[in-house]
């Protein structure tokens, strides 16, 4: 085991697969000598050169389209979109092309394309640079979605993504890039569709996604001191979604809080909650509660930190369920 940051874990996964898959190509902007907007690609350009690490013009839609064209030609590709907010300028390529081609072309085309994009919800960069839009993509059949919260998850899931013949949206988080954790020295893959139980507990299940995980763990720790035993779970992938692990937790605790930075309305929490209700209605001791991003355009400045969930709001929700 080595302790590495999430940024480095992602870099390692890409580097290892660049070596193992000699045709694999990286597309994006600022991914060359600069090393990526948030430094995730450091060293790759130097080691793999401009043909495989293709820094390019600012046109996300065509960049994803080129990625699809490479992918259907059998050349695996990673496209980086610099902020998740910019998926908006490439939506057709992601949603109507990458996600659907395999199915509607009767299986003739496969799209081994990974789109990496970071959520920047806790950076204070304002309304157009702070969104956590994973729910949109979960709505679309044909896209796999990984949304890791630790270096270990990130590396193992990205390696799986890079071996998958399907389009994968790989959602990172700027606030987590410096998060450190143990990563095995030997190669490992984490299969999609396996939620992590990050802490076990018996009173309330707290499902946390991406940037909310550190505060969820802190909340659980503090609540333990108050005598409330919180189980913290991370779905790790949204499609496929490991509903069974979440449902088993609910069956044990009878109560669930779901937290994410994305807007509350029509967010991922609503879907998880509904699935839990469908599967475990009789086990529910209380309504499932959301602690989500507020339904407002995220303002610039310090207020943004109160727009996303924090430890206090999570604890309040848990305590409320215990009454």
């Amino acid at each position: 085991m080595a302790v590495v940051t999430m940024r480095d874990a992602i870099n390692q996964a890409i580097r290892e697969e660049m070596v193992q898959q000699p045709e694999m190509v990286l597309l994006g902007q600022d991914i060359g000598a600069y090393g990526g907007t948030f430094g995730v690609y450091r060293g790759l350009f130097q080691d793999f050169g401009p043909d495989r690490v293709r820094d390019g013009p600012l046109c996300e839609s065509a960049t994803v389209g080129f990625g699809i064209g490479l992918a259907v030609s059998g050349i695996r590709c990673i496209v980086e979109l610099e902020f998740m907010d910019f998926t908006t300028v490439a939506m057709d390529q992601i949603v109507n092309q990458a996600a659907k081609l395999h199915y509607f072309m009767g299986g003739q085309l496969t799209v081994p394309l990974v789109i990496r994009t970071p959520i920047a919800s806790r950076m204070g960069m304002g309304p157009q640079h702070s969104q956590s839009l994973e729910a949109w993509f979960m709505h679309i059949p044909g896209l796999k979605i990984a949304i890791p919260s630790s270096p270990y998850e990130a590396k193992g899931l990205l390696k799986s993504a890079l071996r998958d013949p399907n389009p994968v949206l790989f959602i990172e988080n700027v606030k987590l890039y410096n998060r450190k954790g143990d990563v095995p020295e030997d190669e490992y893959l984490i299969p999609f569709g396996t939620a992590s139980i990050l802490r076990s507990g018996s009173d309330v299940s707290l499902v946390a996604i991406s940037g909310t995980v550190p505060e969820a763990l802190a909340a659980a720790e503090q609540l333990a001191g108050e005598g409330i035993s919180v189980e913290v779970l991370d779905p790790c992938t949204l499609n496929p979604l490991d509903i069974e692990t979440l449902a088993n937790s609910l069956r044990k605790t009878g109560r669930m809080v779901i937290t994410h930075d994305g807007y509350r309305t029509c967010g991922v929490a609503a879907e998880i909650s509904q699935r839990i209700m469908e599967e475990c209605f009789d086990y529910l001791n209380a309504p499932i509660t959301r602690v989500a991003g507020l339904d407002v355009p995220v303002p610039s400045g310090p207020l943004h930190m109160d727009v996303v969930p924090n430890q206090q709001r999570m604890m309040a929700a848990v305590r409320h369920l215990m009454n």
Binding site: V25, A62, G65, G69, S73
Partner: protein
């Protein structure tokens, strides 16, 4: 009067048969739609056959083609079996896409026909990526992408021009300027008459050809293909043509001026190729033979399609994801 070699005549006759196959194919599609056998819509390329056929005639088997929903002709010209294509239009399990794609979503990977797309402009960068793949593999392959005048107002078109020029990918842009996007005439969608001018702004060699002259199209594309194989990057070819039919069997896209539509029949690329054939020394019998052969191919395709089963719901969840 120049008399062509037998080989040249043979090639012209082959193009003629392909054009007739496309014409019959489309006429049948319109009829089958009217009978309710094609759901959604179908977008005939009648009157534009010379572009698909001329362009694909300049390619080799290992080259690739992408086209739009109006790309039945492109699929046929690239060598796809009309049976599987017609079956796909009728969404039968024997269709090239197992009946899921339908009229707007054809694909025949083995033949290098990467497929048609129903989002205007979206296939352009995909074609660019396929061309980049060809370049990276260094196998001297080229990619050809058909699209319309309407598509050439979409942002992705320009993004692709820019990337293709920058990375010098072996991509031939074939703009089928048929004067309309559904009902919108080009004069309402662009300030200047020629789309080729726009490609020039990116440093891409660009030319305009008579899209109803199959030989002219073929020659222009052959030059572009040669450049691409030499590693000199993309070429842009604007083929001026006309759309005879309504935009699609579903939506009328009627013209401003019905006389205009009438006049267009005078530029029909098929009689035009017949005249060329006769000039070059072919005889009427040879021409008729190809016509009959085309008719038969399409009849067989229709029969095949009609006799094929529709998919059922048991398979609905199959193939959303590819297996590893």
């Amino acid at each position: 009067m120049p008399v062509a070699t037998e080989n040249a005549i043979y090639k012209l006759l082959e193009m003629y048969r392909q054009m007739m196959t496309i014409r019959y194919f489309e006429e049948n599609a319109i009829e089958l739609f009217a009978k309710g056998l094609i759901t959604g819509s179908t977008h005939p390329c009648i009157g534009q056959e010379a572009i698909a056929v001329g362009a694909c005639a300049a390619l080799e088997e290992g080259d690739s083609v992408l086209a739009t929903y109006r790309g039945h002709g492109a699929a046929i010209a690239k060598g796809s079996d009309p049976k599987q294509l017609m079956a796909e239009l009728l969404t039968r399990t024997t269709g090239c896409c197992k009946g899921r794609g339908g009229s707007m979503h054809l694909c025949d990977k083995k033949k290098g026909f990467i497929g048609t797309n129903a989002i205007v402009g979206a296939h352009l960068p995909i074609a660019g990526g396929a061309a980049l793949a060809a370049k990276m593999r260094g196998a001297n392959r080229v990619v050809l992408c058909f699209f319309g005048d309407g598509a050439s107002c979409e942002g992705e078109f320009f993004e692709t021009l820019n990337m293709a020029a920058l990375w010098k990918v072996p991509l031939i842009f074939i703009c089928e300027n048929n004067g309309y996007a559904i009902s919108v005439p080009t004069k309402l969608s662009q300030a200047t008459p020629d789309i080729a001018d726009r490609a020039r702004g990116f440093g891409i060699p660009s030319l305009i050809v008579d899209g109803n002259d199959v030989r002219e199209v073929k020659e222009a594309v052959a030059d572009g293909v040669a450049r691409a194989r030499l590693g000199d990057g993309p070429t842009f070819i604007e083929c001026k043509t006309v759309r005879w039919e309504r935009h699609s069997a579903f939506s009328s896209g009627r013209y401003e001026n019905p006389e205009e539509a009438q006049r267009w029949k005078t530029v029909d690329p098929i009689p035009r190729l017949e005249r060329i054939l006769l000039e070059e020394g072919a005889d009427l019998e040879q021409i008729n033979r190809e016509r009959v052969a085309a008719q038969e191919v399409v009849n067989d395709a229709v029969q095949f399609a009609l006799q094929s089963p529709l998919p059922d719901m048991d398979s609905i969840y199959e193939g959303i994801f590819a297996e590893a």
